[in-house]
């Protein structure tokens, strides 16, 4: 196709320069920072059942023996965009309902560190104190054998909390005998970290339920575990966190982010359509040209 022959419009459709596409993504994602876009969403069942589980723990704590929540924070800065709002929503809900929780990670040192800053920010809003309302054990590098010993006796491999104070001296830990006092493990992860809690911990401790906050790409592979109730609740990417914030009636980062998600998704659907229209038309033109030649 020599330069001077006018390029048919549907060829142009398929060859818009990469950088123009990127500029439009940048523009569309920036719009909701200035113009509000509707962000109300329908709450999906996995998000609702995780919300109900924490409500149920709060009710039980009023009457029976206090149950705690374990936050397994296996996420790193590269996936903080999705896991951080999820963790913030869960922590806010627990602070509201006076449910006490333990933060730790067996995979990544970064997770507990970033969760601690979240907890301290939210603690100011609900005047909660470290050591009394939540404990951060930080990162413990653990292989499977050590993990099994953790399930059977929590204090076997936990010596100190992340600030260095011996674990026995932390006021809240006096009420936590073993993993049997934990009735929900909330695992926030960018990869398939939920496996060890679902496969190894739950069969040993019947009362333990597992909820996960995962990046959107991992969401679909969690569904068989939700079907078998090995996992009772899931926050799937930013929309999962936004739905949870909607249940809490707060307007956090996730809800703000959904405005940009709206326009970004619509733009991707438009580009897919453009690409395919151009593709079909140019294929039909080729068939016509072949018919003329034949």
């Amino acid at each position: 196709m020599t330069e001077n022959e006018k390029v048919p419009w549907y060829e142009v459709l398929q060859r818009i320069d990469r950088r123009i596409i990127y500029l439009i993504v940048l523009a569309l994602c920036s719009v909701p920072f200035f113009i509000p876009i509707p962000v109300a969403m329908e709450v999906s069942p996995p998000v609702q059942s995780l919300f109900d589980k924490i409500e149920q723990i709060a009710e039980q704590n009023k009457s029976g023996k206090e149950q705690f929540v374990l936050l397994a924070m296996d996420w790193s800065p590269s996936v903080k965009a999705e896991n951080e709002p999820q963790t913030a929503a869960i922590i806010e809900h627990m602070f509201r309902k006076n449910v006490r929780f333990i933060i730790l990670s067996f995979y990544l040192p970064e997770g507990p560190r970033m969760t601690e800053t979240l907890a301290e920010e939210l603690a100011k809003k609900y005047d909660k104190r470290y050591g009394v309302d939540w404990v951060n054990i930080g990162y413990k590098q653990v292989d499977l054998p050590a993990y099994l010993s953790f399930i059977r006796d929590m204090y076997s491999i936990i010596e100190k909390d992340y600030r260095g104070t011996p674990i026995r001296d932390v006021p809240m830990m006096k009420k936590v005998g073993s993993l049997r006092d934990v009735s929900l493990v909330f695992e926030a992860t960018g990869s398939a970290g939920y496996g060890i809690w679902v496969i190894y911990a739950q069969p040993e401790i019947r009362t333990l339920e597992v909820g996960v906050g995962v990046t959107a790409i991992v969401g679909p592979s969690i569904r068989p575990f939700i079907d078998s109730r090995q996992i009772i609740g899931m926050l799937e990417g930013l929309s999962g966190a936004a739905q949870y914030e909607q249940l809490l009636k707060t307007r956090g980062n996730a809800t703000r982010g959904m405005g940009s998600q709206n326009l970004a998704h619509l733009w991707i659907i438009v580009t897919m359509a453009l690409g395919n229209i151009g593709y079909f038309l140019s294929k039909r033109r080729e068939r016509n040209r072949k018919k003329e030649v034949a």
């Binding site: 069969p203 040993e204 790409i217 991992v218 592979s221």
Partner: protein, 259 residues
């Protein structure tokens, strides 16, 4: 928590065929593995590359010295034999320093087997650490060398999208295979053929005719057959226990599994 009887029985049912078929295959018993469509696509891609006379790129992704990486090396030696036979240049970017010597040795051996050792260029086996530097380097090679065919076999993470999309822009014919299914959707949109999940190991067994892998695959098929039968029985007994409540007072299979 210790194994319940049903777990012990299932462990027995799964393990025996695997060990039996591995040992049988070792003794030379002929094992049938159905042809994997993806492998025909490899030959077609190499044919296309010889027509165009352009180099071929084979990426092992982020795989290290583990089962996934070694299977990728097995498929690589098959591809290397083909490129040697048709005098094509083969470029292999590798991400793991542990896998790098294994890759180099396998390609050199393949070129030697075809008697084309003079064609083998050691600096075509490129070592690039880091996830995104690896993707950027491979994309650079695709554009500079105008590669005719791309092969992606091994463990891929988020950078699969960058590699496959750049490859389809260069107009190369692409075949991919990954055991981890999270990246398969991106390979499907950009490649001509994709080997999915377990097929990845079947492709290695089909190519290398390795007795351990062949026997293990047949043994695993028996395990999958057991699960299929178990699920069908579970459903059947479920229907019977509802349709004829007096004879089948409960779903026997469930009680059996709970022993």
């Amino acid at each position: 928590m210790h194994a319940s009887y049903s777990m012990l029985v299932l462990l027995f049912i799964f393990s025996v065929p695997i060990v039996y078929f591995i040992l049988a295959a070792r003794k030379g018993k002929q094992i049938y593995i159905r042809p994997i469509a993806g492998l025909a696509a490899i030959d077609e891609a190499i044919g296309r590359a010889t027509e165009m006379g352009r180099p071929v790129l084979y990426s092992t992704g982020l795989s290290g010295l583990d089962i996934v990486g070694l299977c990728s090396v097995a498929i690589l030696s098959h591809v290397a034999k083909l490129t040697a036979k048709y005098d094509l240049r083969l470029i292999v970017p590798v991400n793991s320093y542990l896998l790098y010597p294994v890759v180099e040795e396998s390609v050199r051996e393949a070129y030697a087997d075809e008697g084309k050792l003079d064609l083998f260029r050691a600096d075509d086996i490129v070592y690039v650490p880091g996830q995104f530097p690896y993707a950027a380097a491979s994309v650079g090679i695709m554009h500079r060398e105008k590669v005719a065919a791309n092969f992606f076999f091994g463990y891929f993470a988020a950078e699969s999208l960058i590699l496959a999309e750049a490859g389809s822009q260069v107009g190369a014919i692409q075949v991919a295979g990954a055991e981890d299914i999270l990246q398969i959707p991106f390979f499907i949109t950009t490649c001509d053929y994709v080997i999915i999940g377990e097929e990845y190991y079947a492709a290695t067994a089909y190519l290398t005719r390795e007795p351990t892998m062949l026997g293990s695959l047949v043994g695993q098929d028996m395990g999958k057959l057991t699960i299929t039968i178990l699920v069908i029985l579970l459903t059947l007994f479920g229907i019977l226990s509802v349709a004829f409540p007096n004879t089948f007072y409960s779903n026997w299979i469930i009680e059996l599994l709970r022993l």
